[in-house]
Symmetry: C2
Subunit: 203 residues, 2 copies
DNA sequence: TGGATTTACTGAACACTGTTCAGTACATTT
DNA sequence: AAATGTACTGAACAGTGTTCAGTAAATCCA
């Protein structure tokens, strides 16, 4: 019976049609300013239809977040090319910061925006695991080679991620203007901060 | 002519009445879930009245943010008691983290929430200056005594604030659950992270 | 093939949001 | 006492996420 298979396929096509439009509009206008009606308009369906495929706007966000995490993972894989673990860690850190600077709306929706998805991590927790594991594995590699001052990978990841996220998210909320008056020099200074920080945690 | 003075006084009273109610409701339910109508109900006025005192919801946020920054500054002054600059820096860092953990909604509205106030820092930039200067002065003290690896106070502030904000804000968005499974141990681990970080940036 | 059933979709409706503004009632001034 | 100024109201506007009775087409079964 090929009909049910075709219907399943059509359903998946519809779902990706919705998320593709949603992703595009989230990136252009931000999550908050993108309404279900706008998305429905973009794909030329009625608002109610979207609810036949996603239970609410938050589930749509969750879906888009998953894609965004993969996009970040791709950036990691593409830019972390060195053979030296510490150098790889630096490449990862700089990739993270560059990603946040280049895709502010995306970064916002991945890590900053408030939504059920971002709060109750019990059901929605395993969305960015692959990307996070990439960091953890790299850190473990560094620790096993005795290259960092940390004893546990979790401890190291906590600090390293916090530093990187702090830099990016404070910038996204314009909190760095007091410290960095010239907007143009922000990328350079943030990369320098990552560099320096990683120097300071070397064993 | 005492009438215009009385009117000015009454106007100020009304403004603080509004911001007091707003602050309370922002803390309890969050900024997004608090509506102008809710605030108006709480102070027993019509919604339109609020707009006679504040031009929009964002201006209300700005006002409450100012109070929140002062509250944080108070916490700094109360907890930073040591005579040793490095110890003072540690006390400040831990106070910052504790503040964020104890007042999640307040921290959210101060540093995380997205609003015109938080984005265009040209007109709204000087709201938290006193609190920020407290940090800068302390860092300058450390640098002048050659206690830190940094050469410039701005450079140091960038890293230190980013680390602290990263820890607090990732926690507020439940991003630490992958690294810290037990919720109860979060405060201790975050304080430990601050401790360790400050050790790693000692000259 | 023809009638019953399942499926996909619509768009009006509900309860909310921030914000505006004509209208009103009271305080102050002349 | 009449005219002016001020403070406040609450209905209205345009938007939001979400639901659901109604419809039309596709599928199934006899």
């Amino acid at each position: 019976m090929g009909i049910s298979e075709r219907k399943e396929r059509e359903r998946e096509e519809m779902k990706t049609m919705i998320t593709t439009a949603a992703m595009k509009m989230f990136l252009e206008d931000g999550y908050a300013k993108t309404s279900i009606r706008n998305i429905a308009d973009a794909i030329e369906y009625s608002p109610g239809t979207i609810y036949l495929y996603y239970k609410d706007k938050d589930e749509l966000l969750f879906e888009v977040q998953g894609q965004a995490y993969l996009k970040l993972l791709e950036a990691f894989k593409q830019n972390v090319t060195s053979t030296d673990p510490l150098e790889k860690l630096e490449q990862l850190g700089k990739t993270y910061v560059s990603f946040g600077l280049a895709n502010p709306e995306l970064y916002d929706l991945m890590f900053i925006i408030r939504a059920p998805t971002n709060v109750d991590e019990t059901t929605h927790g395993h969305n960015g695991d692959a990307t996070f594991n990439y960091l953890i594995n790299l850190i473990e590699e560094c620790i096993q080679a005795d290259l960092l001052i940390f004893k546990s990978a979790n401890q190291a990841a906590l600090q390293i991620w916090s530093m990187a996220h702090g830099l990016v998210s404070l910038n996204l909320r314009c909190r760095l203007k007091v410290m960095i008056p010239e907007e143009a020099s922000i990328p350079e200074i943030l990369h320098k901060a990552i560099e320096e920080y990683l120097l300071s945690i070397r064993a």
